[in-house]
């Protein structure tokens, strides 16, 4: 197996498990807390984020390597990336509405929330920082999204139960959810440093 394929596998493992976007790196906490009351909506959000993160990684890579770096405008990365992502989310929304209405029905309501999801901007910035090539960027984007999905679905199923449990009044709702997330993060800590190659 070539070193390149190994590097892709390494990215995959670390993005999904050992450096999980939410539970280890803290990207995308807002949707993680906001859209995790039910398992099926959590799954929908996860899929939407994965979709956008994959496309955004590709688009931001192109903007960065074909426009910004040749022109020496690296300092415009943040502005350019967020604009690309905002435009992309709009386009994806319109495209799905028109051509894939079934998918739009499933993901549509989550799409506007994704522009301000720091997982998406985060993945674009980390790609640029680590100097990933096109394929590595896309793999990192998609698998980062899958890691996000894994965490949010696991968390939603925990939350469905904690919401019905008895606890001190001040801890009701959000604080209890955060503590449950903390326990989940502890479980993921077991994977830290996992290395398969």
């Amino acid at each position: 197996m070539s070193a390149y394929v190994q590097s892709l596998l390494g990215i995959l493992i670390s993005a999904i498990i050992s450096e999980n976007f939410i539970l280890v790196k803290f990207y995308g906490i807002c949707p993680f807390m906001g859209v995790s009351k039910k398992t099926d909506t959590a799954l929908g959000m996860g899929m939407a984020v994965t979709f956008v993160m994959g496309i955004a990684s590709a688009a931001c890579w192109a903007v960065d390597n074909l426009i910004l770096i040749p022109l020496g405008l690296e300092y415009m990365q943040t502005v350019a990336f967020i604009l690309v992502i905002a435009a992309l989310v709009q386009v994806v929304e319109m495209f799905l509405k028109k051509f894939v209405p079934a998918l739009y029905q499933a993901l549509g309501i989550y799409l506007p929330l994704i522009t301000t999801n720091c997982a998406v901007l985060g993945v674009a910035l980390v790609n640029a920082q680590n100097g990933y090539d096109f394929l590595q960027s896309v793999v990192y984007g998609v698998t980062g999204g899958l890691g996000f999905t894994l965490a949010i679905v696991l968390f939603a199923s925990v939350r469905e139960r904690t919401d019905k449990s008895d606890c001190p009044k001040s801890f009701e709702g959000f604080p209890l959810a955060l503590i449950a997330a903390g326990l989940l993060a502890m479980a993921f800590m077991g994977f830290s440093g996992l290395k398969i190659f």
Partner: protein
Amino acid sequence: MNLKQQFKEGLLTKNPVLVQLLGMCSTMAITTSLFNGIGMGLSVTIILICSNVLISALRKVIPNQIRIAAYIVIIAGFVTIVDLCLQAFLPDLSESLGVFIPLIVVNCIILGRAEAFASKNGVVASALDGLFQGIGYTVALIIMCVVREFLGSGTFGGGILNGGEGIRILPEGVPAMLMVMPVGGFLTLGCLIAGAQWLVKYLDKKEKAKEAAK
């Protein structure tokens, strides 16, 4: 709106992190040393004031349909300015906060205040709102930092005091490393929000009792 009311809202009753539950990514990710917390808090406060002022000044010029896009561009601009200035003048801080500086762009506090306050109010009020919300955010970060640093590393003031090592309070080996790891972020913020909810309710009750007594 009076000053005292706005101040109280920013600090406690409408604290961006503890009550409005905004901007939690950075709150948990970077609060492992006091230096980080103060640096992040100040950066966000400066950006928040600047973007609030500009957005409020332009609120009648920007058409409604494209307002979110315009806000994002303005905010991203200020964030990049702060990022470049930190890299040039405070390289240690910039290094230590890393990718979370550019990620301020998508920190919901800033876009949230632009949409909820600056787009409807005057320049001065918006500036003050930015200042007080920023202070509220900074205070929440500092509390997180102090608690996590104390329990996790057993020190106070890491990154600033005592040549960067911080002042040791607990002896080596006693502190639970866990608290500076991601887990600690979730647990500390959970307890902190619970505390804030309790305090808000308590103050509310006291206020009502006072009114009833009148």
